[in-house]
Amino acid sequence: MTKKIQVENLRTFYGTKEVHHGISFDIEQNEIFAIIGPAQSGKTTLLRAINRTLEFTPGTKMTGTIKVDGEDVQKTRDVYGLRRKIGMVAPLPVGLPLTIYDNVAFAPRSSGINDKGFLDAHVEKCLRQSALWDEVKDRLDSLGTKLSGGQQQRLTIARALSHQPEILCLDEFSIAIDPVTTMRIEDVLKELKKEMTIILVTNLVQQARRLAARTMFLWNGDIIELDRNEVMFSDNTKDKRTYEYVNGIFG
């Protein structure tokens, strides 16, 4: 297995507040890697450090290294290329104030693709993958922001898939989506695993259990435990806190 992402001794700061206290782990190619942990444990910050959007929040700082495909993200010469390599889905849906079609065509157009035939097919493919196509196929030219919360969330998933990312980061994607649709998207994720590496940040412990091969339990900026799911969701976790969190005893 090749290592897709290597994180080494990562420390991040908001002003003087330290979020991660020097964490190290690897994510392998084509795996679904789940991150669980209570609020404020640094899950979202970690994702933002990987695609380098953390630096847009004033006062943030990071030390240590994050490597994607062996390349240090802090030193990369093509930060836009890096971000195009990573699809990001935020917990609250952000439908850009564009039409549904333009939302999904945004990233391909940004990288210079304007061929109508290709874009049409591509938009349809992405919307099908995010289980939204049937609901919006007749109104692709209406505003993305007019969709319901759950539909917008699926629109952001379609958008994240639109630039054919090598890594897909899902940050609590199912918050605004009903269980049936969630299951449909989970099935899609299992398919997508063949093409890309998926990082799944979730509050639903069972979702991590269903989808991931490995799960990382992050708590207050430290890795409490990182192991294969067979271990993480068994009675013999290395750390007692993992067992308690997974089984809802604390956290």
Binding site: R83, M88, F106, T156
Partner: protein, 302 residues
């Protein structure tokens, strides 16, 4: 069961007071409409008696404005309308790219001290009285235009348009920057996470998201330019003339009213025509605003 907190019964007085306040709020609400129609009515009333004697074709299309002739006064405002429109158009041609560009720069590229300094300076620019601008036009801009372009007169269309541009840019920057600031940061982050460069983010996400506010910024600038009087009176050259080039002097509707109204006798034809010019001005701004409204609504419907 009795409620734990006794339900207060409202006194007759409280109900009365509420009615009165409701009425006052209603009056405040419709006062803007009353004032607009009131102003229009009074301006129109002063000019109306002349309408019967007015030759509309001559009034709108003739470029002969000789209101003080004792033999055959002529009231053609064609040249004045062309003056106002050309000065405003040229000013906007200069001001819109600069104003919106500056708004984007201040909002998206500046941080911390630079941003604060720039904003304060730009607002200071908006506070300069128009007569001072006119003075700058006469004493600074005019010689510069003469020496740079080798033209005989420095007070002309270009001079006034530059002044109006300088005057409307600060408003556009302030309003435009507010509009861009109102775009949620989550849009920025979403666009950036999709691998958009700063420019792609600006023209694909931020400008579409803020278009209503940016349009409002431009229109406020247009409004300022059409209505401006003192600076254009001083810098256009104030000659009734349909310009052939941007170096020709012109005269605007506003400057004509300002310069001549004090010299006319109350109720004379000249006086009444000046009020009709006021009505024309009023109509131009109303049309501009209405057009803007329709444009904004059209954008929303889409």
């Amino acid at each position: 069961m009795k409620p734990a907190v006794p339900r207060a019964s409202r006194s007759q007085l409280a109900i009365m007071v509420e009615r009165v306040i409701e009425g006052l709020v209603y009056i405040c609400g419709i006062s803007a409409i009353i004032f607009v129609f009131g102003i229009f009515f009074f301006v129109f009333k002063e000019g109306a008696p002349f309408l019967a004697k007015l030759n509309f074709t001559e009034f709108f299309f003739s470029k002969e404005w000789i209101p003080t002739s004792s033999v055959q006064p002529k009231y053609g405002i064609g040249a004045l309308i062309v003056g106002t429109v050309s000065v405003t158009a040229l000013a906007m041609l200069i001001a819109v790219p600069f104003g919106l560009g500056a708004a984007v720069f201040v909002s998206e590229f500046c941080t911390g001290k630079t941003k604060e300094t720039l904003k304060i300076t730009i607002e200071l620019l908006a506070a300069i009285p128009s007569v001072v601008w006119g003075f700058i036009g006469l004493s600074v801009m005019s010689p510069v235009i003469i020496s740079v372009f080798h033209v005989p007169v420095g007070v002309n269309l270009l001079n006034a348009a530059l002044l109006l541009a300088l005057m409307s840019v600060p408003i556009m920057v302030s309003i435009g920057e507010d509009a861009l600031k109102a775009v949620p940061d989550s849009y920025r982050e979403a666009g950036i996470a999709l691998g958009a460069t700063k420019w792609q983010l600006i023209y694909r996400v931020l400008i579409p998201a803020a278009k209503n506010g940016l349009l409002a910024a431009v229109l406020l600038g247009v409004g300022r330019a059409i209505g401006e009087t003192m600076a254009v009176l001083m810098a256009t050259g104030h000659a009734v003339n349909i310009p052939d080039s941007i170096f020709d002097p012109v005269r605007t509707l506003t400057a004509t009213i300002a310069a001549e109204l004090g010299e006319t006798s109350h109720g004379s034809p000249h006086y009444q025509v000046l009020f009709l010019i006021g009505v024309v001005l009023f109509s131009i701004t109303a049309v501009v605003n209405l057009a803007a409204d329709f444009i904004v609504k059209g954008i929303k419907r889409k």
